[in-house]
């Protein structure tokens, strides 16, 4: 058990290795060199590193600003400790793992094109299946060519049913079928795929609202989770995405994908700071096990 946890942390650490280097690399080398850089220069270096990791200008300035007032004099250990705390305080607030506390539990998966919605669904299905739950997938992306087949591929791999209609069909109708099927089959978890859409497209956001209405009508209280999938390589636009999807259907959780070893992912801090939406999952690699519950403590440990 412990070994497994440890392995989990290692893959997280590997996933964040470059982000860690990007943030801490230049700061640490300055510590070690001890080349007489002033305190102020070090703060500037840190601010630069944070911006380079997509934390955003505003959030980076705030974090460094607080550090500047808190740190009296100069002490490398204190500096690291306070820095770690300041990031942890921001992330702690959004650390709320998804609890499957209803039966059936309906998860609607949302996001812009190409962030990894279908893959995330596949991984989620595998996880719940492994926990002994019966999982039903709904192929609600009727727009993109072969999106349905992609989800069916995951269904086969994981071993769960996929409710589908033809491409170009009405997503509302697919979802309707899926809810009915789940009720008669007594599925524990229903995961609804939706077509990728840019958050600025009014018509497509209206369509999403409609899908949500169909779900709530057929099963009061559902969807229990509107999971927004964000790509970790996205820049400041991720905040706009979160805002507009939240305005349209209410986002209850975020999955951050593709935290896979490149220098990125700082956007998670910006979003946590600005939006306060729970971060449920982070994807740190390509395999099924690489979708993990977000843990603020581990995340900060791996990062700093």
């Amino acid at each position: 058990m412990f070994k497994k946890l440890k392995a989990g942390f290692e893959s997280l650490k590997a996933g964040l290795a470059r982000t860690h280097n990007a943030i801490m690399g230049s700061v640490e080398s300055a510590f070690n060199l001890n080349n007489g850089e002033s305190r102020e220069e070090l703060f500037e270096r840190l601010e630069e590193s944070l911006i380079t990791s997509d934390v955003g200008v505003k959030a980076s300035m705030e974090i460094v600003g607080n550090l500047r007032t808190r740190l009296v004099g100069w002490d490398t250990n204190k500096f690291k400790e306070y820095f770690r705390e300041s990031i942890y305080d921001i992330l702690k607030e959004v650390e709320k793992p998804l609890e499957i506390d209803k039966n059936p539990f309906v998860i609607m998966v949302l996001g812009v094109n190409g962030v990894g919605k279908t893959t995330t669904i596949g991984k989620l299905a595998a996880r719940y299946k492994a926990e002994g739950k019966s999982v039903l997938l709904a192929a609600g992306d009727t727009f993109r060519a072969a999106a349905i087949e992609q989800l069916e591929g995951w269904g086969n791999r994981v071993g769960c049913d996929v409710i589908r209609q033809a491409q170009g069909g009405d997503p509302g109708a697919v979802i309707f079928d899926a809810i009915r099927a789940a009720q008669s089959r007594r599925s524990d978890v229903i995961i609804l795929d939706t077509a990728g859409r840019l958050h600025t497209k009014v018509n497509l956001m209206e369509e999403l609202k409609k899908v949500q209405r169909v779900v709530s009508r057929e099963m009061p209280g559902a969807p229990h989770e509107n999971l927004l999938v964000l790509d970790a390589s996205t820049g400041q636009n991720a905040i706009n995405q979160a805002k507009l999807f939240d305005e349209a259907v209410g986002v209850t959780g975020i999955a951050l994908t593709k935290l896979d070893g490149t220098a990125k992912g700082g956007i998670i801090v910006a979003i946590a700071k600005e939006m306060k939406i729970p971060i449920r999952f982070i994807g740190v690699g390509e395999t099924v096990d690489d979708l993990k519950d977000f843990d603020a403590h581990d995340f900060v440990e791996a990062l700093i």
């Binding site: 997509d54 727009f143 992609q150 958050h199 790509d231 390589s233 990125k264």
Partner: protein, 443 residues
């Protein structure tokens, strides 16, 4: 909510007038704003540093021209410099070899498969005979996706279904392409990370087999600071020849493009502007420069307006206007002309300050509005279109039913039309440019 950058420049530099020229001390503040704007637009930190220094050099010592305010002068320097960095050289496709091969590469989810189909359509419409080759065997159903898209754009597609290795696909597809007389081969590859050595080596092998004349790096316009490393990684391992910027129809400022351009030295060749297969445009540096700086791009807009407005139609319209015969049919024609300009959102986003306005006032663009108006007009009889005064309540109800709208929508449209007609009456003597000029003034 946000002040546009050019407004900020204007305020910061308003006192410079009379000092004769821009100097290091008086542009310091403005340079800081440039830096912030670029960082917020996701331009990479190092690129921003270089850029700010260049702007400083270019701007310093510049005499403030009589005709421009110092703010305008500075804006021009920044905009010109950014445009120059983003473009400059000829960015058309280089198609050498028989057949010429184009390889599509990039990260997962950047839009390679969709872009492959879009590009095939673009080339087909230019009279070429492209051949689509799906070589992404990793992502589930990627081959099927491209096959479906290929049939949608009516371009022949290699059948990759029974292959296990992308290299075998490429070899066989090249042979097929020559046999079938295709002059361009488009190869879609699996998404991969630039730090994944195994997969990058696979890409090198494919390059060896294909000997492509173009290797296009497909990148998401929403990419953050890492764009620099990704583009650099791909460029260093396989050497890219250009960038395609996707999902440009969202609200990302697209600063990553500048980073990619600066680190690879390769031009941005196309932008993807929508989900449909015909949404691919040739890249315009000035347009992106304006967007990164949130200054809009009036120039592109005017160009677009000029090509879309049919000269002949607009002359006929002028005649009608003079005789006060502007009917609802003409109104519909006008709407169709506007539609030719692109989506409403894309037109409006080129207007300076529109993005800020949209955020401040929560303006929603409904692309279906034009379609609705057309449906309403189509549901009218000829007589009704010619003379709206005969539209009584029961006629209006019938039209609403026929067009699937509400009576209020019909009323609103008729009111708009009548207002427009009134206004046009006033503008009868609008000069030789007539209606065309009028529309330009509006936008």
């Amino acid at each position: 909510m946000f002040e546009s950058l050019s407004d900020k420049f204007r305020k910061i530099l308003k006192d410079v007038r009379g000092q004769g020229s821009l100097s290091e001390s008086n542009i310091q503040e403005a340079l800081k704003e440039v830096r912030l704007a670029l960082l917020e637009a996701d331009v990479s930190f190092t690129v921003v540093k270089d850029f700010v220094n260049t702007v400083k050099e270019k701007a310093m010592g510049k005499e403030v021209l009589e005709s421009l305010s110092p703010g305008q002068q500075f804006t021009k320097v920044v905009h010109d410099e950014l445009t120059a960095l983003l473009g400059g050289e000829d960015a058309s496709l280089e198609l050498k070899g028989k057949p010429a091969v184009i390889m599509m590469v990039g990260l997962q989810g950047s839009g390679k498969t969709t872009t492959t189909a879009k590009l095939a359509l673009h080339l087909r419409s230019k009279g070429r005979r492209p051949y689509i080759v799906p070589a992404d065997l990793f992502r589930l159903a990627a081959v099927l996706q491209l096959k479906k898209l290929a049939s949608e754009v009516k371009v022949e597609c290699f059948d990759s279904t029974n292959y296990k290795k992308p290299s075998d696909i490429c070899r066989e597809a090249l042979r097929e392409a020559s046999l079938k007389g295709h002059d361009i081969v488009l190869v879609d590859t699996a998404g991969r990370l630039h730090i994944d050595n195994t997969l990058m080596d696979e890409l090198k092998d494919l390059k060896e087999i294909l000997n492509p004349s173009e290797i296009l790096f497909v990148a998401d316009s929403m990419t953050g600071q890492d764009a620099v490393n990704t583009a650099k990684g791909f460029n260093e391992s396989i050497g890219i020849t250009g960038v395609v910027l996707t999902k440009f129809d969202g609200d990302a400022r697209g600063g990553a493009a500048l980073s990619m351009r600066m680190t690879t030295g390769q031009p941005i060749k196309f932008i993807g502007t929508g989900e449909k297969v015909d949404c691919l445009e040739v890249f315009h540096p000035a347009r992106l420069a304006g967007r990164i700086l949130d200054m809009g791009d009036v120039l592109t807009l005017i160009e677009k307006a000029q090509t879309a407005f049919d000269e002949k139609q607009s002359k006929e319209l002028q005649k009608k206007l003079k005789k006060d015969q502007f009917t609802l049919d003409d109104f519909k024609d006008q709407l169709q002309q506007i539609k030719k300009l692109g989506s409403l959102e894309s037109i409006l986003s080129m207007v300076p300050g529109f993005d800020a306005l949209k955020q401040a006032k929560d303006i929603k663009i409904d692309e279906k509005e034009i379609a609705r108006v057309e449906a309403i007009i189509n549901s009218m009889t000829k007589a009704e279109r010619a003379e709206t005064s005969i539209l009584n309540a029961s006629r209006r109800q019938r039209i609403a039913r026929g067009s699937g709208t509400k009576v209020q929508d019909v009323n609103k449209l008729i009111k708009q039309y009548e207002d427009m007609r009134k206004m046009m009456k006033k503008l009868k003597g609008a000069g030789p440019r007539g209606i065309k000029g009028l529309f330009q003034k509006w936008m």
